[in-house]
């Protein structure tokens, strides 16, 4: 399911883009205001509510001991899930996650995993028998565009507040989850050779190409995904990657200030 947008609005937006403007007055590489509220779910080991413009995403982290995967007996496990619940958008439907939800969850997961933000070996309790399992659950509350970037900010923010619940399972004192990096997802859309970051839902529904770049604190790339039925040229991709790494840096800095 996709948003339907009136032709006249599409025209209006496109004419604005040609003049170098956006409907809400932002520059093409400008993010909407965002805020992060931490630890508002006391039942969760860590949580964060991210507001990116009007988009709202809640991420909760739960941890419990469990069995490791047979091929990685001394490493903890990360399981990321995303719920695109019908309260968040007229086009979300109840039922098992569809491919959009699965892609979103896998991208959030890729950011955390590939940046090596979590030291999985430190989460081993008894090699081959018991390790910590981290469940990162992304709950979309209001989809006003670019929920992926909001979810990625939410995931790392929630992990940064996470306390390993060791005492609950008789495994010693609780301690904060060690987090070593802050991976940030930055998403751009392409529309008639205009590259635009942090698209709102109208912008998302008229563009048919999206590129998400996941980057780490050292300014390198730890993941990428093109999605949508459009095409991108090599130099467009390079341009997006350049701006994306810069934007991620800004977001990371703002994030650490708070």
């Amino acid at each position: 399911m996709t948003n339907v947008i009136a032709e006249i609005k599409k025209d209006y937006l496109y004419n604005l883009f040609l003049k170098g403007e956006r409907a809400d007055g932002r520059a093409f590489d400008q993010y909407r205001e965002f805020s992060v509220e931490r630890n508002l779910i006391s039942k969760a080991e860590g949580s964060a509510l991210v507001k990116l413009g009007s988009s709202q995403v809640l991420v909760g982290v739960k941890m419990q001991p469990g069995e490791p995967f047979p091929d990685t007996p001394n490493r903890g496990v990360i399981i990321t899930n995303a719920e695109l619940v019908p309260l968040a958008s007229p086009v979300f439907e109840p039922g098992p996650p569809n491919e959009t939800g699965i892609e979103l969850a896998r991208l959030v997961d890729r950011g955390v995993r590939e940046s090596k933000a979590i030291d999985l070996e430190a989460l081993c309790i008894t090699p081959g028998k018991q390790v910590w399992i981290i469940f990162i659950d992304v709950h979309i509350l209001d989809d006003c565009g670019n929920i992926l970037d909001a979810a990625s900010i939410g995931a790392i923010a929630a992990l940064l507040t996470t306390k390993v619940p060791a005492s609950k399972f008789g495994l010693g004192e609780d301690y904060p989850l060690p987090v070593k990096d802050i991976p940030i997802a930055t998403t751009a859309i392409e529309f008639g050779d205009v590259i635009m970051f942090d698209p709102d839902s109208d912008e998302e529904s008229i563009a048919n190409t999206k590129l998400t770049v996941l980057s780490t604190a050292d300014g390198s790339i730890c993941g990428m995904q093109k999605s949508g039925t459009g095409v991108l040229r090599q130099e467009q991709i390079y341009r997006i990657v350049d701006i994306a790494c810069e934007k991620a840096k800004e977001i990371r800095e703002k994030f650490l200030e708070e």
């Binding site: 007996p73 390198s220 790339i221 990428m224 093109k226 991108l232 390079y238």
Partner: protein, 255 residues
């Protein structure tokens, strides 16, 4: 055989400048493409790339079921990437999982930009890809096979799509990583593109600096261009052969 450590830290990926299977860094594995391998499908293609064995079938344009999925102005494209349970070392539980949902989505989006879907409103073009044996690079092998199968089915397309991955192992950018390099390497980046250089699929995981990323991109693009030539040849070969058979039949009729 040498034991491989769990984290692969003691593997040496290069021996005298060559990779574990004797390739140079900028070479892809032997690629074999066979067109029209299935009788029932409208178009089909079998691709072998190194240890990967992939078969693709195209059905359609045909009626959409369930009907609520149909679009009034264009054909929809469905792509199903499926791994056989015996295709990997540890038996894979049959049926779709989250990985295959994601791969199906991005693969579909890699092919859709070149298909003239507006020619066939209210219909569906189904692409089914079965991975029979996997050895890293199945999504790109699947896209290569699917693209040839679409052409074989006579689906009008702007161009072919060719796909190839580049990766990073032991700080070296390599083309078309195989299993060991994918598992224990530092990055993997599959792309798909048209012969004119429009990129329709781009994914990446691992760790690349911006400079490494650009070098990987250049290498993968070069790989796609070479693969395109092989795809093209395989189609020409099949239809040339059909053409000469037809000529024989026509000659017989004249006599």
């Amino acid at each position: 055989m040498k034991m491989i450590a769990m984290d692969g830290s003691n593997i040496s990926f290069f021996k005298e400048g060559l990779r574990l299977d004797g390739r140079r860094a900028d070479e892809f594995r032997p690629l074999k493409i066979e067109v029209g391998v299935l009788a029932r499908a409208d178009g089909s293609c079998y691709v072998e790339m190194g240890g990967n064995k992939v078969i693709a079938a195209v059905y359609g344009p045909r009626e959409v079921h369930p009907r609520h999925l149909q679009e009034a102005t264009r054909a929809i494209v469905r792509y199903r990437y499926n791994m056989a349970s015996f295709s990997v070392e540890e038996r894979k539980r049959p049926g779709p999982d989250r990985r295959s949902y994601e791969l199906s989505k991005v693969s579909r989006e890699a092919l859709e930009p070149v298909i003239f879907t507006s020619y066939y409103p209210r219909s569906v073009i189904d692409v089914f890809v079965e991975v029979l044996q996997a050895d890293a690079g199945t999504r790109t092998a699947g896209i290569n096979a699917a693209s040839v199968a679409l052409a074989d089915a006579g689906i009008p397309m702007k161009s072919m799509i060719s796909a190839c991955a580049a990766g990073k192992v032991a700080d070296t950018i390599v083309l078309d990583p195989m299993k060991e390099e994918d598992n224990f390497g530092q990055a993997d980046m599959p792309i798909a593109m048209t012969p004119t250089g429009q990129i329709t699929l781009l994914q990446m995981d691992g760790h690349l600096t911006k400079d490494e990323f650009q070098r990987a991109m250049e290498l993968a693009i070069k790989g796609c261009r070479d693969i395109y030539e092989i795809q093209r040849k395989s189609l020409i070969e099949k239809y040339n052969q059909l053409g000469s058979e037809l000529a024989v039949v026509q000659e017989a009729e004249v006599l």
